[in-house]
Symmetry: C2
Subunit: 359 residues, 2 copies
């Protein structure tokens, strides 16, 4: 019986190793690596790493040498190796409720172009206005060691909040503002904007102004708060004038809600739709039903989406600065990721009342 403790062939392997580089088990990838660049430039790999990233002082001549070698060899850093070694990727995760609302598309386009020029990738996650789905996405993205998060709004699960806090990954919240320690946001007061557009309808001598809302997410509810405030201040608030539907906002839904409203409330003389797609549907339904806008009913929307200026009649609305919010959010996040000092924790970009013919 051969002893299981018989000497292993290891010593000979060591002898081979002593003779030069071991060549067994090579996992050739064909990729140009930092080592290749280092060899070509005649420096050590760490110097290449530092020269290319510019994180630490490297002799200017060496930097040039390294850059030349890297360019010549067509070197492209490996993000996976980088992420593994440094424990942080170059990926920023952006979480939005929906892609079918052009509002968020504008936001994303701005974010993506700003982050891309700074060398970051963007991972887009769609939460469908669902806090549980958001939590799931957060968990999955956290495994990728994102460099930062760009989130929409503030209402998320307790677990999501803890996940974010514990991870230490910098995050910026878009579209709303909230003053709280270690909380960064770029947006505007949804409530103030809701109040402003309601006040505009009031200034047009309207007394029976309805609020039509769909989706009913946090931001819609804040606009509703603004509407209530304005109506109460005018002494005209009537809970019966609120038509709230949790379904997804769309042109078709706007048309349906408009018809429902005018069939049940014959005295209405103004409508504030919480989003432009609803308002567009309302305008088209009014046209079909022969309801004159703004003479019989003044109509206002929110967000100033594509097509609102072409409606019959052109829609009065609140223009939100999505592109600006996207850019500012990305820039703020960039600073946080680089651990640079940040002046404001809540940037208010404001909004704009756009008066057209519908109100």
């Amino acid at each position: 019986m051969p002893s299981p403790k018989a000497p292993k062939p290891k010593p000979s392997a060591r002898q081979q190793a002593a003779g030069g580089k071991r060549v067994d088990r090579p996992r050739a990838t064909g990729r140009v690596t930092l080592n290749d660049v280092a060899a070509a430039a005649g420096v050590s790999p760490i110097t290449v790493s530092r020269a290319l990233r510019g994180t630490r002082a490297v002799d200017a001549d060496l930097v040039k040498q390294v850059e030349r070698a890297a360019r010549k060899l067509g070197y492209v850093p490996d993000p996976a190796a980088r992420a593994l070694a440094s424990q942080v990727s170059n990926t920023v995760a952006v979480l939005v409720p929906l892609l079918s609302n052009t509002l968020f598309v504008d936001l994303i386009e701005a974010v993506q172009s700003t982050l891309m020029s700074a060398g970051y990738q963007t991972l887009i996650g769609v939460t469908h206005y669902n806090a549980e789905e958001e939590e799931r996405l957060l968990r999955s993205y956290l495994a990728h060691r994102p460099a930062g998060f760009l989130l929409t709004g503030f209402d998320r699960t307790r677990a999501s909040q803890q996940l974010l806090a514990r991870s230490g990954v910098p995050a910026v919240h878009m579209m709303e503002n909230l003053l709280a320690p270690d909380t960064y946001s770029v947006g505007f007061s949804q409530q103030a904007a809701g109040e402003a557009i309601t006040n505009h309808l009031l200034s047009r001598k309207r007394k029976r102004i309805a609020f039509v809302g769909a989706q009913l997410d946090a931001r819609v509810r804040q606009r509703l708060d603004g509407y209530r405030l304005a109506m109460r201040k005018a002494g005209l608030y009537d809970a019966d004038l609120e038509l709230l539907d949790p379904s997804r906002s769309s042109i078709g839904l706007g048309a349906a809600l408009f018809e429902k409203l005018i069939d049940t409330h014959r005295d209405i003389d103004g409508i504030f739709f919480c989003n432009d797609d609803l308002a567009q549907g309302g305008l088209l339904a009014a046209l079909r039903r022969g309801v004159r806008v703004p003479q019989k009913i003044a109509v206002a929307g929110f967000n100033d989406l594509a097509g609102s200026d072409q409606m019959p009649p052109p829609l009065t609305t609140i223009r939100t600065r999505r592109t600006e919010i996207g850019m500012e959010s990305a820039n703020l996040l960039l600073k946080l990721m680089r651990r640079e000092p940040v002046p404001n924790t809540a940037i208010d970009v404001g909004y704009e009342l756009v008066v057209r013919e519908s109100a």
Copy 2:
């Protein structure tokens, strides 16, 4: 003078090592690793790796043991480590021309949900209909060792094509079909669809049918080809009836082009807009100008986008199966990534003529 060759303190470090685990230079990450799970389950790390991935046969009991340990410890695999070791990430890059056309948003939503349930991440790149931009994105994504590519259409730079071919990364082309070896696509014949909607206008007794196109990308040109074919077959083709504008498609542009067209061509009795947003703008402009649709001019669009069914009058159009294309493309790519046999290299999902009141 102390000798520079004095014995280093290393031996003592080695003695320490002999007494247990070396603890110098630990880079604590706090992360639960494969090793932790292996220790808890009482197996080797490779067994954990195999048990969790299900790639190779592992004893059923061991698998359960490992899964229990992983769950208990809250183990989440590290994608960066995985990508580095296996030379392939779990990321699929999706390249679309634009996000502001809901067509592509529908496509992305379908793709993302299909891929996510299969454990893949989606990286979305926007090319802005620019082949150079696409090439840049391709290069940057290739560095991430994507598991697969989902591309829009077929017209890209020569360099992009070579990049793709050399990378060996599987790719599926969406929205069009092309029969070529090692080329996978899910879409429909843009030309046939363009011909079909033109034929529909012809069936409505229209003789002076204009084609209004914007963007003028490959797919729009194919629809134009279909229009020309139908008009020629009917003996009614007139190059003067084509209004082509390279700017980005929008409702506003559609309105402007409609007005330009009717001001210069008083005999037109039908218009095929290459995209629904243009057609919607045209319909709204017709309303403003008092041009009756379809009595005076029949109007048709393409894609069946949101709002087309609410237009005054509802728009006749071609419904494209974006969600189906997205799902089928993702499923096809999934098979290619798993190196499973693939039956068809070009899946035609067809299209649908939706007749409403505008034509």
